[in-house]
């Protein structure tokens, strides 16, 4: 089990990589040592009036330099993420992590795997692609402007879709799968709920296992407050009801375990 800590981490670098999308490297030390692909960090603002954590997925881990990369979207004016985007290298950020379970890489070892990411669900698929020892196909869905797609090319065959057709297949990630006649034995995916719902249905139809990373509003981030639950198909062992905690039991779930 990975050991979680809350501490102040130095920002090593930060850059804007697309409209409203920022990439930040943190000097994470033991948090980097303990981190796994598909886990996330809770980021805290420097604004005393914004108390709750911003959960952000781990995009990359540099184990040698003990650093973690986060790629996040600024969601609007006056938000916590806007505050993060203004921070320069050298500044410290309060972080709790590593949190959650991560992708079960061993389940895909040596197999043909789809790494599917939609929008701001793309970043966690990068470290997953990097660490996974398998025949990897990354299928990345964007609204319009691409980001990180070039970096995936180092680890996987890459296909993209855009909603307006400005790059790759016009449509969503499953449209890209069909248009290119792609196939896989296992799916790892992260993205908005409608996309995950469609991928779950696709996996069921194909009869292949599929792990999805889910999102929910959080408060504690460690499994104590029960803010972040999703519906589980079976009665959950911990909760004794049809609820699982996204922050602790997830964020990655076998698609058949949860109701979307």
């Amino acid at each position: 089990m990975s050991k979680k800590v809350k501490k102040s981490l130095k920002i090593v670098s930060q850059e804007k990589i697309a409209e409203d999308i920022y990439s930040m490297w943190l000097q994470a030390d033991e948090i980097a040592d303990n981190a796994k692909a598909g886990q996330f960090l809770s980021l805290y603002t420097r604004d005393g009036s914004k108390l709750l954590p911003r959960p952000i997925s781990i995009c990359e881990i540099d184990r040698e330099n003990r650093r973690i990369r986060l790629v996040y979207r600024v969601t609007g004016k006056g938000t916590g993420t806007e505050g993060f985007s203004r921070l320069h290298s050298g500044v410290a950020l309060e972080v709790l992590g590593p949190l959650g379970n991560g992708f079960p890489l061993e389940e895909a070892k040596g197999k043909r795997v789809f790494l599917m990411g939609g929008g701001i669900g793309i970043p966690p698929m990068l470290e997953t692609a990097k660490e996974l020892d398998a025949e990897k196909t990354a299928v990345l869905g964007y609204r319009d402007e691409l980001f990180l797609d070039d970096e995936f090319k180092n680890y996987a065959k890459v296909y993209v879709s855009t909603e307006n057709g400005s790059a790759g297949t016009k449509g969503n990630v499953l449209d890209a799968v069909r248009e290119n006649g792609l196939d896989a034995d296992v799916i790892f995916a992260c993205g908005p709920a409608p996309m995950l719902r469609a991928i779950k249905a696709y996996a069921l139809e194909k009869g292949i296992p599929c792990w999805i990373s889910m999102e929910e509003r959080m408060a504690c981030g460690i499994g104590a407050c029960l803010a972040c639950v999703c519906q589980s198909s079976e009665i959950d062992e911990h909760s004794q009801v049809h609820n699982k905690r996204v922050c602790k039991d997830g964020p990655v779930f076998l698609s058949t375990e949860v109701e979307l």
Partner: protein
């Protein structure tokens, strides 16, 4: 030697710092961050006679200097709680306070009776949760009903009973007196303040439950005021809470009349908050040359 221990209805706590129900689970998750042996008591998440699924999500939302929650008292039920959570807590040298919730008087009494033979030091009766439709707050907003449920619960309780008061009333002292009349041993306050947030872009409520309970530093002045009022209205010891994030905050409550304090929302953004507050109180006492914490309780008249 500085004396930080306090006494709640005959139960001696090594220091006045405890957790606020619902923010700390049963301590398991936070035990990775803090040594539970350092706490005066752990107050568990509310537990009912049977498992409760709680409310739909979103269950939490941020507000300026605080938050709203509408978890809806999701809990695994008393059986699993006694089998799993209590044995875990028993491993630590801290007092165990179980928060009890229910929909009817019978529900509360069933849980209270069941806990009679368990290693539990105090019972906290949650008659003030704003997020469940039946029971809960219905008992906590009417003095007659509060006195009645307190009396009922006391019939079955083997441990001293803490009644947790709602701030969502016209006069909290009236409620405090009702609980006292019903036989409560200790009062805890404040539970969360009912609030609402609207997402103007989606033209909907930020919480699926529409309303939620507000907590966090933004509510602290209201909580301190209510603790002060109640301390002057009844003879019972008080557990003060509402936005406590630092030792200074805790000391405000103590000087207003609280014998002990609960740390809630602060755990979410500082998982070390409880122990830091316990340390901070001791440091303050040293600096002020206060030998016994009882000198600080209700120090402000």
């Amino acid at each position: 030697m500085i004396k930080t221990s306090v006494n709640l209805a005959g139960v001696e706590l090594k220091n006045p710092v405890m957790t606020a129900s619902g923010t700390f689970g049963s301590g398991m998750e936070y035990s990775e961050f803090v040594d539970l042996n350092r706490l005066g008591a752990v107050v568990t998440k509310g537990v009912a006679n049977v498992p409760w699924p709680g409310n739909p999500t979103p269950r939490v939302t941020e507000t300026t200097g605080g938050m709203l929650n509408a978890i809806g008292l999701q809990n695994p039920g008393i059986d699993v709680f006694c089998r799993r959570d209590l044995p875990f807590l028993k491993k630590f040298d801290t007092k165990i306070i179980v928060n009890v919730c229910g929909k009817t008087a019978e529900d509360y009494c069933e849980v209270v009776e069941r806990l009679g033979d368990e290693p539990v030091d105090l019972l906290e009766i949650n008659v003030s949760c704003p997020n469940v439709k039946e029971g809960g707050i219905a008992f906590g907003q009417n003095p007659k009903a509060l006195e009645q449920i307190t009396r009922e619960v006391k019939k079955y309780a083997k441990q001293p009973v803490i009644m947790k008061l709602s701030p969502n009333v016209t006069d909290i002292t009236e409620m405090a007196r009702a609980a006292e009349a019903g036989g409560a041993d200790v009062l805890s306050l404040i539970n969360t303040l009912t609030g609402m947030k609207i997402d103007i872009h989606r033209r909907t409520f930020a919480l699926a439950n529409k309303t939620g309970g507000m907590s966090g530093p933004a509510v602290k002045p209201i909580a301190v005021r209510m603790v002060y009022q109640v301390a002057n209205a009844v003879k019972l010891p008080i557990i003060g809470m509402g936005g406590i994030a630092t030792a200074e905050d805790a000391l405000e409550f103590i000087m207003a009349g609280a014998t002990a304090v609960s740390v809630g929302t602060a755990n979410f953004y500082n998982p070390y908050a409880t122990v830091e507050i316990a340390d901070g109180i001791e440091k303050f006492m040293k600096e002020q040359k206060t030998e016994d914490i009882s000198e600080l309780i209700g120090a402000v008249k």
